[in-house]
């Protein structure tokens, strides 16, 4: 049994063992228990030359990773919070994502950027927002959103092995989970969704810790005779539209479970995929399950209202399926 953090550390270690061009860096990466265990042991195994602490300079550090990538390295830049990437957006969006195209595809940028979405426990507005939709709008940037201890190391390994710049978004709540992880880690293909539950009444498209949420909601619905199909997208870019359309062609109903905000978010993108398809039509309105479109409040009382609620989601699906 490995914890989420241990599983990520294992995958990183494996990548670093396998390829000397992989190195990891981040603010506080070598703190005892740093990054919730997900970087533990790297320094010991590979020395500070390949796993190093850095100044608090996100913008420069993102550029640093790009530069090393241009020279053939496969850097892993670890960030404690996804909000910190806002300081590095110029390098991420204007450079990491664009340079391969701008150069006429003379080179690739195999940079992986890990960032954690805080959740609950009063993290408040600046430490718990989910900003994946922003990244997924940008061409040539991969956005990976693991949902489980089993998948996360496999997707991380795939990200590190991939030649495209990749933002790998974890959510803090998953760090509490443990699971059996097959060793050595086998990379998963990016852009392939995973049917985590089969069903015929409604397609639940989910990412990150909302996959578990959707699974729990689905279990609740069994008593009502509702069989939900739960699809874990695993990555937002590339996004497995075929898997969504395939499932929807069977269920004709669709719910989207996002860790982020609705406007211009995942539910929107999934709606676009289905709406623009010539062959697939829904029999019912699309149901969107997401956090409120507000900055996360700090208070535990307000947090309760901010995040999606399983009971409420189950009721919404019941109402939808019963028509």
């Amino acid at each position: 049994m490995l914890s989420f953090g241990e599983a990520l550390a294992y995958a990183t270690k494996q990548a670093m063992e396998h390829d000397a061009r992989v190195f990891a860096y981040g603010e506080g990466i070598n703190d005892p228990g740093g990054f919730f265990g997900s970087t533990a042991g790297l320094k010991e195994a590979f020395s500070e030359a390949r796993c190093f602490d850095v100044p608090n300079s996100e913008d420069a550090l993102m550029g640093f990773g790009i530069g090393a990538s241009l020279m053939g390295y496969r850097p892993l830049f670890v960030n404690l919070r996804v909000e910190f990437l806002m300081l590095a957006m110029n390098q991420l969006v204007n450079h990491a994502a664009r340079l391969p195209a701008m150069s006429g595809y003379q080179y690739t940028i195999p940079l992986t950027v890990r960032a954690i979405v805080g959740k609950s426990w009063g993290q408040a507005a600046q430490h718990s927002s989910a900003l994946h939709s922003m990244f997924a709008n940008i061409p040539d940037l991969q956005v990976v959103v693991p949902s489980s201890v089993e998948d996360a190391p496999r997707l991380l390994l795939a990200s590190i092995l991939s030649d495209a710049p990749t933002v790998f978004i974890e959510i803090k709540s998953l760090y509490d989970c443990k699971a059996l992880v097959h060793l050595p880690i086998e990379p998963l293909p990016l852009g392939k969704a995973h049917v985590v539950r089969q069903g015929s009444d409604i397609t639940c498209v989910a990412i990150s810790d909302m996959v578990g949420f959707a699974q729990r909601v689905s279990e609740q619905l069994v008593a009502d005779g509702i069989e939900a199909e739960v699809l874990d997208l695993r990555s937002l870019a590339p996004l497995d539209s075929a898997a969504i359309l395939n499932s929807v062609s069977k269920t004709k109903r669709l719910a989207v479970f996002d860790i982020g905000w609705e406007p211009f978010g995942l539910a929107a993108e999934v709606a676009r995929i289905v709406s623009t398809s010539a062959y697939h039509r829904l029999d019912a309105p699309l149901l969107s399950i997401a956090r409120r479109h507000e900055h996360t409040p700090a208070s535990c009382f307000l947090e309760e209202q901010h995040y999606a609620n399983e009971e409420h989601a189950a009721n919404s699906i019941r109402a939808l399926v019963r028509g």
Partner: protein, 332 residues
């Protein structure tokens, strides 16, 4: 600054503010264990002198911005105690109605208008505040607190340049505890010299003992007086120690060295230094001082007790699980 010149009132006032902050934070440690305060908290224990010294030297109408480690600034600037405690408890009677929490204490009445948990996040904002204050034609200044960790961020230097170029009445107080979470200053900067850098950007600077509230106070008084004439920015570096872990009220600290280092830090901590001065300077005031401490502690306790009661009532009413799932709050 000869101690014998010290007016008794000044020492009294400084002592009162210093003790209040310490008492509040010691109480937070206790209350945190009850799981009513749910969120990361960054204690200022050991660093109170910069906040109290500078903010006692400034005017109520001066505007202050702060960071993740803002408790001391908030209280020293005159922020409402009940507003703070209720905010920590997540109540709608908190200074930010529960939206902000520990990392974002703000109180417009006290002119502590911003606390950002993004490193150096409040720094450029301070420049805009200073611009507004200068435009007003009054002699108000803006005071921006930051840690040594925030001076790694490029925006600090952009802002120094802007402040020097536009001649903004902006005082940066860099609380240099020589650490950022668990990474020391000298591991992060090739030249860990804040004042030297600031001067190269056209901003005058000065370093003081950040554990000696009187030194800080007198330095700040001089600086602020000058700034009100010249409208020019300034960097005051206060050298200090963090006595707790970076985040979470863990009594036994992590990342700040071994036991002996810690012990020696506790031997030069601001309350100790201040109390020694008080005792040597005004030995007859010892009883009064102890009585003040008792009173302060009692009133702090009262505020916490009232907050806790409201928390419990709200938790009941809103059916919040009384004990939330265990969380790794050591590093958040």
């Amino acid at each position: 600054m000869a101690l014998t010149n010290l007016p008794q009132q000044l020492l009294r006032d400084l002592h009162e503010k210093m003790f209040l902050i310490r008492a509040v934070e010691e109480r937070i440690k206790v209350e945190y264990a009850s799981r009513r305060i749910r969120g990361p908290v960054h204690l200022s224990i050991g660093q109170e002198a910069a906040a109290v010294g500078v903010l006692h030297a400034c005017r109520q109408s001066d505007v202050c911005v702060s960071t993740h480690r803002n408790h001391a600034h908030y209280l020293a600037k005159g922020g409402s105690l009940a507003g703070m405690v209720d905010e920590l408890f997540g109540l709608d009677t908190g200074c930010c109605k529960g939206y902000g929490g520990s990392m974002h204490l703000m109180d417009l009445n006290a002119n502590l208008i911003l606390s950002s948990a993004i490193l150096a996040g409040s720094i450029p904002i301070a420049s805009g505040i200073a611009f507004a204050l200068k435009n007003e034609g009054t002699k108000r200044v803006c005071i921006g607190f930051l840690g040594d960790g925030a001076t790694d961020e490029g925006v600090f230097f952009e802002t120094l340049n802007l402040a020097a170029l536009m001649k903004l009445p902006l005082l940066f107080v860099v609380e240099n505890n020589a650490i950022s979470t668990m990474t020391t200053f000298s591991k992060r900067q090739a030249v860990p010299d804040v004042v030297g850098k600031a001067e190269r950007f056209g901003v005058r600077g000065m370093t003081v003992d950040g554990n000696d509230v009187l030194s800080v106070y007198h330095a700040a008084q001089d600086i602020l007086q000058g700034m009100r004439q010249t409208h020019e920015p300034f960097v005051l570096e206060t050298v200090t120690d963090r006595l707790c872990a970076h985040v979470g009220p863990i009594v036994y600290p992590s990342g700040i060295g071994a036991d002996d280092t810690l012990q020696s830090r506790w031997m030069r901590e601001p309350m100790l230094i201040l109390n020694e001065k008080l005792r040597s300077e005004f030995p007859d005031q010892l009883d009064a001082s102890l009585a003040r401490e008792r009173n302060l502690r009692e009133s702090v306790d009262q505020v916490f007790i009232r907050g806790a009661q409201r928390f419990d009532a709200d938790a009941l009413r809103l059916q919040l699980p009384a004990a939330p799932p265990a969380q790794d709050v050591r590093r958040v």
